[in-house]
Subunit: 216 residues, 2 copies
DNA sequence: GTCTATAACAGGATAGAC
DNA sequence: GTCTATCCTGTTATAGAC
């Protein structure tokens, strides 16, 4: 913790760290104070209550996580290009913030209704609409390639799963594959090429009467 | 809650429900007592402490989740057959226990060391070894089919991700796809054919000089 | 075995000196 | 703005009557 930063920033940084690791319920204000090398009373001075401090941290996490998807899939370009962008962007971001998705998922579950209300329904970007549109694009692409038996919505969920899950289940993955942090990071870096490769193979046509495909 | 069951079983059932939903830290003994329609003091009479009650619930969850994988992938049969079994078995089990994986993942993270010690290292079934072996099998199959550029370990992680992630992120998936519980269940049922289909397509050879493959 | 009442303590929040 | 001391509520855990 950088002692030079001004106090409010130090607290916020510490709060992000601790809340993301332990979740709201298991976090003690004292833990945050300790990590910020600061007095417990200061937390209340700057943020009034644990709940308000948490709200800031959660809001920030949501802002870090969701707008990226929406921006990428609503852009121009082929479905395959968007997939590559999603993989690239999210794996990079998650390597820097490995606990982010687990935190978000766990806290959403603690207050499902609040999430639906604020992030889904009242969100001017209408993520549900944008996702639906992208899934349609992807389905069109699948049909074109003669693999219409694959459902695009299922495939999209699978894509997100492939990107996000290893981070959510990081301790499990590390344990079961006997990886240390460094090996885990390497594996996630390799995933940046693995996932697009897998999708390229899936999307590459059954459509036999296309001429030998162009370069990669 | 079945009032006829004897008390200890009622408590355990209630504890599973509540702990899985809220996690250890957010759970109150009172919540469990209420759900079991029983007095709070009874919880201590039967299980001594919150921690001990939780340990029972967590142990049970681990037993429900892990042995299945180990059994399936260490059996006989082709890699593809094992994949089909994994998908079938886990999707069924998770539909009955949708909160199980999120619970396990969150609590593992709260005490990573304990998990590594008990579930990975001191486990006589040596899950890490068994997984390594299966990954080798899968890689052999990939090589045989002329898709050696796909890494089997990455693929295995992806398989687990595809199966488990939608349940871990259930509220998010439901929100972003605008599904009610029933629609979600339907989607998960459909996944039982989707995932094997996807893997069949991946594994089905690049190997051009094979004769036109047998039926599906 | 089951309940009510209460002890014991942890943790969030505030008062007030500096 | 920062600290120490303290209040006060909620929660685990136990004592003891039935």
């Amino acid at each position: 913790m950088n002692k030079d930063q001004k106090t409010e920033a130090r607290i916020l940084e510490a709060a992000i760290e601790i809340f993301q690791q332990k979740g709201f319920a298991a976090t003690r204000m004292q833990d945050i104070a300790d990590r910020a090398s600061i007095n417990k009373a200061m937390l209340h001075y700057y943020f009034r209550s644990k709940q308000k401090l948490f709200d800031r941290v959660f809001q920030y996490a949501i802002q870090q996580f969701f707008p990226g998807i929406v921006a990428i899939i609503s852009g121009n370009g082929s479905a395959e290009a968007k997939i590559r962008q999603l993989v690239e962007f999210y794996l990079d971001m998650l390597q820097k913030n490995p606990r982010l998705p687990g935190f978000i998922i766990h806290e959403i579950q603690q207050n499902e209704e609040h999430f639906l209300e604020t992030v889904v329904r009242k969100n001017p970007f209408q993520p549900a609409r944008i996702i639906t549109r992208f899934v349609e694009e992807l389905q069109a692409e699948l049909n074109l390639q003669g693999v219409s038996e694959l459902d695009a919505r299922q495939l999209f969920v699978s894509l997100i799963a492939m990107i996000v899950f290893p981070f959510v289940a990081r301790p499990m993955v590390m344990g079961l594959f006997e990886l240390d942090s460094e090996a885990f990071e390497k594996m996630m870096s390799a995933r940046k090429t693995f996932i697009p490769l897998l999708f390229a193979r899936l999307l590459q046509g059954q459509a036999e009467n296309k001429d030998a495909e162009g370069g990669e």
